[in-house]
């Protein structure tokens, strides 16, 4: 699994497209690609944080669900905004979403073959 993180509008998805040039891949935004879409292609999840937020709102367990997805697709590429670098939000749900997304990224980074942080379109390989 490759993990690509960074702030909003930093060029993460373009970076991923460059990384995957010449390979067959399928991208879902704010969602996990469905099995019938994958069909041997590399699954790419863009805006993973939006998916986490949605799963929390639906009462899901994003950590376990994503872990199961990774077991099925160890070759996937995950793209996620860094959302923890701000003032602590006033709303409890916003605090939970922010912190759980951050902790998930720590877990994912530990599991990733490669972690890239994109700033101004430039990817820095931090692992």
């Amino acid at each position: 699994m490759r993990l690509i993180i960074g702030g909003y509008a930093q060029g993460k998805a373009d970076y991923a497209a460059g990384l995957l040039r010449g390979e067959k891949w399928v991208m879902a935004k704010g969602a996990l690609p469905r099995e019938e879409e994958v069909q041997g292609k590399i699954p790419v999840v863009d805006c993973l944080h939006e998916w986490v937020r949605e799963r929390l709102l639906q009462g899901g367990r994003p950590e376990e669900e994503l872990s199961a997805f990774l077991d099925r697709h160890p070759d996937c590429v995950l793209i996620c905004d860094e959302i923890g670098n701000g003032i602590v939000p006033a709303e409890p749900f916003d605090r939970e979403y922010r912190e759980r997304t951050g902790r998930m990224l720590v877990e994912l980074a530990g599991r990733a073959d490669e972690v890239v942080r994109v700033i101004c379109g430039i990817g820095q390989r931090i692992r």
Binding site: E82, G84, N85, G86, I87, E99, G102, L105, A109, I126
Partner: protein
Amino acid sequence: MTVLILGGSGSGKSAYAEETALALAGEGAKYYLATMEAGDGEALERVNRHRQMRKGKGFVTLEQPRSAGEALSRMGEKAQGATVLLECLSNLTANEMFSEEPPLSWQETADRIWGDLCRLAHGVGHLVVVTGNVFEDGVIYGETTAAYQRALGALNRLLAAEAGRVVEVVAGIPVTVKG
């Protein structure tokens, strides 16, 4: 040596700061300066989670939500060789700033805390400070919150200039900024 460790919410900065403090301390005394007041449910939960993380690692916890410099007299003679982990500057800044009504100005807040941090840094063996990155959410806040950001920003810069090492923790990965 002074080490500054910066990170966002859930970035893994606490775990990395502990590792850093343990490595610096070796067999020496280890103190944890806790700045969070364990008031309501959520804060208490966080305090308990961090306590659980530190368990069995030999830290002596000193509750110091304000006036961090006072920890020196609480450590007494042990201070000189000790490794002190202060967690975290973003809490300490809020506690100092809003301890009075009306709140202190950003400059008063930063001056007061900077005095304490200088005393600590000179009085102990190693000082590891955890701080927050509260600067990158693109929101324009009201006067009070902006003053808080300004105070913390000033303190982060002062500390970073003095520190031997500055590390940003990103998704649990330490990224060296200085040193």
